[in-house]
Symmetry: C2
Subunit: 130 residues, 2 copies
DNA sequence: ACTGTCCAAGTACAAACGTACGGGTGAGGT
DNA sequence: ACCTCACCCGTACGTTTGTACTTGGACAGT
């Protein structure tokens, strides 16, 4: 039912902070942005307004302060975004991207262990249903 | 050194075909696009021109036909694109995306086997060097 | 030579994006 | 009561993107 317009890159960064910090004022979101990604306070304000227009966030006034809250779960947005990327860049196939991530970006030993566990879990489950 | 402007979504789709079909005329690229993703011939032309402007493709005239060729390897573009996505949407961490792909998008049995092999290969290599 | 077809290349143009400024207004300090 | 600071909100504005039309020339068949 979504049919929200997709998030732009900038909006995504702000949305990420919004998910992490829960409902929060513009000031707080702005402060929580990664330092190397400095954007103007007003820019963050604009992004939040756009997030709301697009249906990804809601807001209420607490006194004179507007508090923004996410209306969409990260999982959903990630799904939509990743699906789109996989479609456009890999013709819809998942594995090439998985391969790329593991081989090209490299993962740590503990992550590798987690991955193995994940694979094994799926292997045993795969036997039963599909 | 790259510092090409990033590819837009539409450009990406065309680039993908360009990689697959090797050097090719606009007509061929247009024909090779997934049927459900119909875009006008002229639109493909525009995308190819933009790909060239951005440094992702080169072209030469063969008679009156312009032949486009990729100038960047898929791997490179994928790396840049995925890095950007991982940065913005996952704060730079790889595993959450890997997890998402495997769990949410689901992979087939044979892919799972491949994945296991991949994991095992990395496990044995990880012991030796880093 | 005339016509229809095909292509390159220039131009178009509205919407989305990234990024921000400026006016107005309330709240707090002095 | 006044000044200052913070914040909301409307507005702005150049660039990029998606999508295409159009003009003019080359080639192919008649």
């Amino acid at each position: 039912m979504g049919e929200r317009p997709a998030l732009s890159k900038g909006e995504m960064e702000v949305a990420r902070v919004l998910w992490e910090k829960g409902p929060a004022a513009v000031r707080a979101i702005h402060a929580a942005l990664p330092a190397e990604r400095a954007m103007d306070f007003a820019t963050v304000q604009t992004y939040l307004r756009r997030l709301e227009t697009k249906g990804y966030a809601s807001s209420r006034l607490d006194g004179r302060i507007r508090i923004y809250a996410a209306r969409t779960k990260p999982r959903t947005v990630i799904r939509e975004t990743v699906n789109d990327l996989v479609e456009r860049l890999f013709g819809g196939e998942t594995m090439p991207l998985v391969r790329h991530l593991i081989e090209e970006r490299g993962i740590e030993a503990d992550e590798l262990a987690e991955l193995r566990a994940l694979v094994e879990r799926l292997e045993s489950k795969g036997q039963a249903d599909d």
